[in-house]
């Protein structure tokens, strides 16, 4: 429902289309911007335009990239034979922070969600299949989220990839380091027991 005139309402409408921003928040942000100094508002507008112009998807792994390829795909020191599959670019950031991984990535840009009607064809799976022979991939690590959507995606990919002769692994689920065993839920603790290893 349009309450304000012209540009004000247009700003509120645009803000309201952003994820997690309801009509009330959109209105609050719009008035914040209108009250702000002109250069502050312009800096925000420039940042949006510049990011939108300069950043797009890496044409190989679908991570965010400035230019054709992302930093990981350009980096020659990365092991091209191992691919880590993640749902979103921000998951790459989390894995990189571990400092434990030296392979490359593939971003699905989502996860299978039966209840949202998101099927495998809406993800970058075709593109993943094309990469395997092209880049001589020998191992695929499924690092989708350990929730219902991520598990569904991992199960689907495992069924699809195993017959192709690549090694398919799933990141382990278990107890958060630094936590107490007694607070763990049954599913997590059960998975931790299954994934136990020899010392």
């Amino acid at each position: 429902m349009a309450v304000y005139e012209g540009p004000v309402q247009q700003l509120i409408d645009e803000l309201g289309r952003l994820p997690g921003i309801g009509p009330k928040s959109a209105q609050r942000i719009a008035f914040h911007l209108l009250k702000a100094a002109p250069e502050d508002a312009k800096r925000l507008a420039r940042a949006i335009v510049e990011a939108k112009e300069r950043v797009s998807w890496c044409r190989r792994c679908y991570n965010l990239a400035e230019g054709e390829l992302c930093a990981f795909c350009r980096d020659e020191r990365r092991d091209p034979h191992v691919l880590c599959i993640v749902e979103e670019p921000r998951d790459i950031v989390a894995i990189e922070r571990t400092g434990e991984y030296r392979g490359r990535y593939h971003v699905l840009q989502g996860a299978i969600s039966p209840i949202e009607g998101v099927g495998p064809e809406q993800l970058r799976i075709k593109e993943l299949l094309a990469r395997l022979p092209e880049e001589g991939v020998t191992e695929v690590i499924l690092a989708t989220n350990p929730n219902i959507e991520g598990e569904a995606t991992a199960m689907y990919l495992a069924r699809l990839l195993k017959p192709l002769g690549v090694r398919v692994t799933r990141i382990a689920s278990g107890l958060p380091v630094g936590g107490d065993l007694e607070y763990a839920d049954e599913v997590t603790l059960g998975r931790a027991l299954e994934g136990r290893h020899e010392l």
Binding site: G20, P114, I115, E116, G117, M155, P176, E186, V187
Partner: protein, 276 residues
Amino acid sequence: MRRWWVRGDRSGCRGGPAATELHWCHMSRLYRDEGVVLRTIKLGEADRIVTLLTQGHGRVRAVAKGIRKTTSKFGARLEPASRVALQCHRGRELDVVTQVETIEAHRVLREDYGLLTRAVPMLEAVDQVAPEREPAPALYRMLTGALRTLAQRRSPVVTPAFFWKLCSLEGFHPLLDACARCGTPAPEPGPDDGADPRALVAFDLDEGGTVCRSCARGGGRPCSPGALALLGRILGGGLNAALAEPPGPAVHEVEQLAVRALEHHVERRLRSAALL
């Protein structure tokens, strides 16, 4: 320290007239119940809105704060299909989950792709038909029973059977032994030579049941004798035998028809049925 839930314990509740059946705790706005997680959607940075079908409060939507953090006390307890005992704080629109304990985790339903794609449509269907904050004990029993059966027997018949039972619970009982359009009773069972005009050969959702060969020209989805027999067993007290049916064209037909029937009844698309 918070008091923890003991099943069946309603002490501490002294609300108005509805207090006993709903066991609201009017004093603290806290209530305890058990429920099945139907779906979860992300909220903000680290929260989720969890929709549950509870035993005593019907469909409830509650916020699980911080659940997406790896250190959350909820852990994996509020994943879809889990049956849990929970304590919630009642809110105006959304409740807030304060404690959860697993009753049946049904891990296998989330860790087997074939079972997951059969479990989620049942959860979605219940999410659509269950009234908000209104006890639906029959529906609750049906859902918990169906999830357990699916996890134990892995039968492809569970989901369509659940849909047909759900239609039935909602007041739609299909006519299966006569033509729903002209009323002609089905012929004696025997081999159909393809010419008997009385043979029931299709299913018409608008008419609410099977239709005979002569009426089927006017509409309806073609239905094989095998599928009609299976449907008859599902709705006619032969569910246990029906569950032993191996996957095959008849099961697939009954499944597709069940999805259409349910969609027809709730007047909405069942999105997760696309993966069946």
